[in-house]
Symmetry: C2
Subunit: 155 residues, 2 copies
DNA sequence: GCCAAAATGTAGCCTAGGCTACTTTATAGG
DNA sequence: CCTATAAAGTAGCCTAGGCTACATTTTGGC
């Protein structure tokens, strides 16, 4: 650092005396990587839902449910395939692999838990559902456990 | 990233067999647009933090704290400028506009609230801090209010 | 059995948010 | 007052996740 003689100069020269930096960087990094899997999680959950409810998961339905164009849905589905979460034969719908099904299950459970906690905290169910959609992808295992415990403890 | 709600949405919805679709699509759409502002919020908060703590916010420090390369930080800073949240003179550090300061304040308050709620639910402070970083960007005003109320009610 | 409409798929474009590699500027220190 | 070095900035590349526009398959209705 060759600028002002501020506090950060010392940090740098003296082999990082700020202990929080590494931690914080790791935190943010985790947040960012969570975002990249969030979409895949949504797709997996939705496909499982459609397969259970309609018996098939078609790109157009997926697109409509997610509010994106069908082209976008198809592109995302190909990412799902690349990630080993789904399979699809042209014009024949989308299916989940074992891995995809496992992911969908985890996601569904987590979603329920987040919604329930939000409602327990007094969030109206409408908002709870909406916010959970975004929140759930950032809830760690540790936090999930705490949520479960909290719900159990209060009946 | 914000997608344009075009006529085809309505078309599809009109012939749809599933009743809950419109709502769900809107939910997901909101989640996605929240993601696009999440980074700007993080930057604004961090810059405010650095300005308060060190008296200046330099791209290198920002980059280190966020765990990204300085090139990435600089690019993001230029997005902040475009969004009217920050100003920066070459080689002279980054500053927040009134709008940026207001955003940073809101973000800081919200972050605290989310962390406090998580801890109140029994989440260890380490995990609470980490998860809050991701969660906070998806908490609506409604939910925020409920959080505040909840904390107040339990002392 | 044909044909139109709907679903599916492809191509090409955009922005955000990452990166590395290189260049330019400022400043500290001899 | 130079100059080495750290910070800042620039260029160019990549992937994800959006879109529109167009091409191709399926399929339902006659």
């Amino acid at each position: 650092m060759a600028r002002k003689p501020s506090a950060s100069d010392a940090d740098h020269a003296a082999t990082a005396k700020l202990p929080a930096e590494g931690t914080q960087a790791r935190r943010f990094g985790k947040t960012r990587s969570a975002q990249s899997t969030a979409l895949l999680e949504d797709y997996a959950e939705l496909i499982a839902d459609l397969l259970a409810g309609e018996g098939e998961a078609r790109p157009t339905d997926i697109a409509r449910r997610l509010g994106v164009s069908h082209a976008t849905a198809i592109k995302s589905i190909s990412r799902l395939k690349r990630a080993g979460l789904a399979t699809a034969r042209p014009y024949r719908g989308v299916f989940l692999t074992d891995k995809g099904r496992a992911l969908a299950d985890r996601v569904r459970v987590r979603h329920r838990l987040v919604v329930d906690v939000l409602q327990a905290l007094g969030v109206p169910s409408e908002a709870a559902e909406a916010d959970a959609e975004g929140i759930e992808h950032h809830v760690s295992e540790t936090t999930l456990k705490a949520f479960a415990q909290f719900l159990k403890a209060r009946g």
